[in-house]
């Protein structure tokens, strides 16, 4: 195999393997790899803390952690998973790697800015990791005031600084993607021919640019109150604690769409490829991404139905939350219809994509229970909410990320991973995930509250089920790590297009050369022209 590797034509991996050349690279593909390595660190931190939480909840009194130690653990889990894994996951890794390839460009619009945004991410991540290792933080990822600004005696400021810094990485990436998509499409690649992955990243980038500054300034305000005693949120200082929630959710609800839209983009690509069909209702799937991005900015108040905000505000936010659910439903229906009369193959990426449809459907529908005012009062702040958003963020976003990683792994590395293992891992993930999180819906309905290290004994059976499921889920994540790394040494050469997929990225060699294409391609047909592929090949 190693002789084969050296026999491969020069590609972005082999062209200059020195450490400095990686650290100073402006190649979007290498930057994607840098992100992959860094977010994997945070995934590990988030996953280990999740494991500790689940083990501790094995018994009603809390088997491992109590009080502040437990609170720090769930805060670490939420902060590392949301700000440092989920938000950058698909955009920064797959988006960076694939957007220029998909639109027939040699790089993103601002390659230096792209590298800068990685350094900013690392700086922010390092601050947060230092905060975590030098005492930790106990505010949860939500930083609710006045607890975070006045009452918590943990490393709130340094953690917030880390999240604040990382936000700029997100803003710059969004900016880079928007300009790239607008200005650098290959000749003939009109908007109506764009792959849905690109459409999804366009919508995501809009949210990154418009939403992230708000959370940055909000965390700055927490720092000002905490450090300088400037009264912004604490009523004792003349501030308004609910104002924080408005500002925080103005970003953090759209942030959910930063996590899920790119995943939806992946699912569209994968389903088209493994059904060999054009995506049913392409325009509606593309348009629904934009609709979600826009309406998603006006639903933040649904996190505050029991905060004491006006009941009329609740009314408006509830209605808008129902409206944002419709485009998500449209996507699910269109993906399902794409399978109709297709040629469906069950490779690992497809199993992840089908798993995504199922888990996202459950996650989305349980969201309706929380958008409904009268039932949210009972369910909010319980494990029902925990289950719901894990169905969206893990069942949706991470399943999509895994699907995407498996789909483009041969393109990124040039190697194939073992079929059997990868299918088994996808199935294991689905089973483990449902066993972990489905019982939490029932726990929540029965009144088990979030963020508590103890719980009434009658909830133990369901908690034990959830912990058992988490151990299966862990294996489902571990197996791919092993065989993907294995493939780097022992895998078979993938060739440019192992799946027989449409899309410009598959016309480049695997792994692609530094400038992606020998000659900038000219696009003459719509995305997903699977029916004409064979004739073109011949």
């Amino acid at each position: 195999m190693s002789t084969l590797a050296t026999a491969r034509p020069a590609n972005y991996l082999s062209v200059d393997p020195g450490v400095m050349s990686w650290l100073l690279t402006k190649d979007h593909k290498r930057i994607g790899i840098l992100y992959l390595v860094s977010i994997s660190v945070f995934f590990l931190v988030g996953a280990v803390s999740a494991a500790v939480i689940r083990l501790s909840l094995f018994t009603p009194e809390g088997a491992l952690l109590h009080g502040q130690a437990y609170n720090k653990m769930f805060s670490l889990h939420g902060i590392s998973m949301i700000f440092f894994f989920l938000i950058p996951s698909i955009p920064a890794v797959l988006g960076n790697f694939l957007l220029p390839l998909m639109i027939g460009a040699r790089d993103v619009a601002f390659p230096r800015l792209n590298l800068l945004s990685w350094y900013i991410f690392v700086l922010g991540g390092a601050s947060t990791l230092i905060a975590a290792t030098t005492g930790g933080v106990d505010t949860g990822w939500t930083f609710y005031t006045p607890f975070s600004s006045i009452y918590s005696n943990t490393n709130v400021t340094l953690t917030a600084v880390g999240v604040f810094i990382t936000g700029f990485s997100s803003i710059l990436t969004g900016l880079n993607f928007l300009v790239t998509i607008h200005k650098m499409r290959a000749p003939g690649l009109s908007w109506s021919r764009l792959p849905l992955f690109v459409w999804a990243h366009y919508a995501t980038s809009l949210i990154m640019i418009l939403g992230t500054p708000v959370v940055a300034i909000t965390l700055l305000m927490v720092g000002l109150e905490r450090g300088l005693g400037i009264g912004l949120f604490d009523p004792a200082l003349g501030g308004d604690p609910i104002l924080f929630q408005h500002l925080f959710w103005f970003y953090s609800h759209p942030a959910v769409y930063i996590m899920i839209l790119p995943s939806m983009g992946v699912v569209s690509e994968v389903i088209a490829c493994f059904s060999r069909k054009r995506i049913f209702g392409y325009e509606f799937v593309a348009g629904s991404s934009l609709a979600i991005a826009v309406i998603g900015f006006f639903v933040w108040g649904h996190h505050m139905f029991v905060s004491g905000q006006s009941v009329y505000a609740g009314l408006v936010f509830s209605l808008l939350s129902f409206l944002v659910a419709i485009p998500s439903g449209v996507k699910v229906f269109n993906w399902t219809a794409t399978l109709y009369k297709g040629s469906v193959a069950y490779h690992a990426p497809m199993l992840y994509a089908l798993g995504f449809i199922g888990l996202f459907t459950i996650g989305g529908l349980t969201g309706l229970f929380l958008a409904t005012l009268g039932t949210d009062v009972h369910l909010t702040d319980t494990y029902f909410v925990v289950a719901h958003f894990h169905y969206i963020m893990v069942g949706g976003a991470i399943t999509g990320f895994m699907g995407g990683l498996h789909f483009w792994w041969p393109k990124i590395t040039g190697w194939l991973y073992p079929e059997g293992w990868s299918r088994a891992a996808a199935l294991l993930l689905f089973v483990g995930f449902n066993l972990t999180f489905f019982p939490q819906f029932i726990l929540g309905y029965n009144g088990m509250l979030r963020r508590t290290y103890t719980y009434p004994p009658e909830f133990q059976v369901l908690n034990v089920m959830s912990t058992a499921g988490a151990s299966i889920l862990a294996v489902g994540y571990l197996i791919p790590v092993i065989y993907l790394l294995w493939s780097l040494r022992y895998g078979q050469a993938a060739g440019p297009n192992p799946w027989g997929a449409t899309g410009l990225e598959w016309t480049a060699p695997s792994p692609p050369p530094p400038g992606n294409f020998e000659k900038i391609p000219v696009v003459t047909e719509e995305a997903y022209a699977y029916s004409t592929m064979e004739t073109r090949r011949a």
Binding site: G140, F333, G358, G447
Partner: protein, 317 residues
């Protein structure tokens, strides 16, 4: 409950059944769509599985009627959910006029209750069966949340302002009260119980407990001790407005606006007197912020309300 497995919470308030009915409706709709999607995906995936590598299915571009169908039907169902949920939310947020009132002060990590009779309790709230109870709540530190899942109610308890919730218990028993908003180290242990008693038993409990003076009488003491009476003479001749009969009435402000003298307004005027100055009075009242605890403020409010009641009693004959 079976082997420690609990699937359904108690229905112990008048609203519990109504919330569960809506939940059941949502569950039915969800199960229908989950079944529809799962079944369709599985059937399509099996029926149209790839049989040969040479397969090239005919492209289908889409269908406007189908897009309209799966936009309009879910939208219609969503509007039903929205309307039903909103109706219930208003009911959950509007306490009946005859509700018995209890003041709640939350702090890290305990619940303090004050009954109108002056009875105080910590982490335990005794209430009579079959009578609506309104809780008026505030916090002395972080945000907490008053949640009783067997009643299907929850409301955040926010420092610096009042929030309210209400319930009418329908079954005698003890129900878990939990803090639902994360509030720090012992958030998990900020639990209490609501003890629902039959009216006779409740009356006996009230008599048996070592009650001090009523909330309003305690408020009158606070009123005297802090020198409020010097300006707020009941006849209205002092430098401050009379408080007799003021509760629940419109008040004209110096800015020309009119506000209702409810709990929130009176609380603000005690702690931040210049925020909403009554028309015709000079801004001379000092703030009582830092001098009065939240519990004393609620006692003052009870006293001011009792003045309103006196006024009504006088007006009646």
């Amino acid at each position: 409950m079976l082997f420690g497995l609990r699937l359904f919470p108690e229905q112990a308030s008048t609203m519990a059944g109504q919330v569960d009915a809506l939940l059941l409706f949502l569950l039915a709709v969800s199960l229908f769509f989950i079944g529809l999607i799962f079944l369709t995906v599985i059937v399509f995936a099996i029926r149209y599985r790839r049989r040969s590598e040479a397969e090239r299915p005919q492209p289908i571009h889409g269908s406007l009627p189908l897009e309209l169908l799966w936009t309009i039907i879910p939208l219609g169902l969503a509007l039903v959910m929205f309307g039903w949920g909103a109706w219930l939310y208003f009911a959950l947020n509007r306490p009946p006029a005859d509700a018995m009132e209890v003041f709640v002060v939350a702090k890290q990590w305990m619940w303090k209750f004050q009954h109108p009779s002056g009875m105080r309790e910590i982490n335990e709230l005794h209430v009579p069966l079959g009578r609506p109870v309104k809780v008026t709540m505030t916090s002395e530190d972080a945000i907490h949340s008053f949640g009783v899942s067997d009643f299907r109610i929850k409301m955040d308890v926010v420092p610096g302002r009042y929030t309210t919730a209400w319930f009418e218990a329908t079954k005698p028993g003890e129900y878990r009260l939990g803090c639902a908003e994360y509030c720090g180290t012992e958030h998990a242990k900020m639990v209490g119980r609501v003890v629902v008693m039959r009216p006779e038993a409740y009356e006996a409990w009230l008599r048996g407990a070592p009650t001090g003076i009523s909330l309003a009488a305690a408020g009158e003491k606070v009123f005297q001790q802090n020198g409020c009476a010097a300006c707020h003479l009941s006849a209205g001749a002092g430098p401050g407005p009379s408080l007799a009969g003021i509760f629940g009435k419109p008040v004209k402000l110096a800015t020309g606006q009119t506000v209702t003298a409810d709990d929130a307004y009176l609380r603000e005027s005690i702690l931040d007197p210049q925020a909403k100055l009554v028309a015709g009075y000079p801004p001379i009242m000092p703030s009582l912020k830092g001098m009065l605890g939240e519990e004393q403020v609620t006692q003052l409010l009870a006293y001011i309300k009792s003045l309103a009641a006196d006024q009504k009693a006088k007006a009646a004959p």
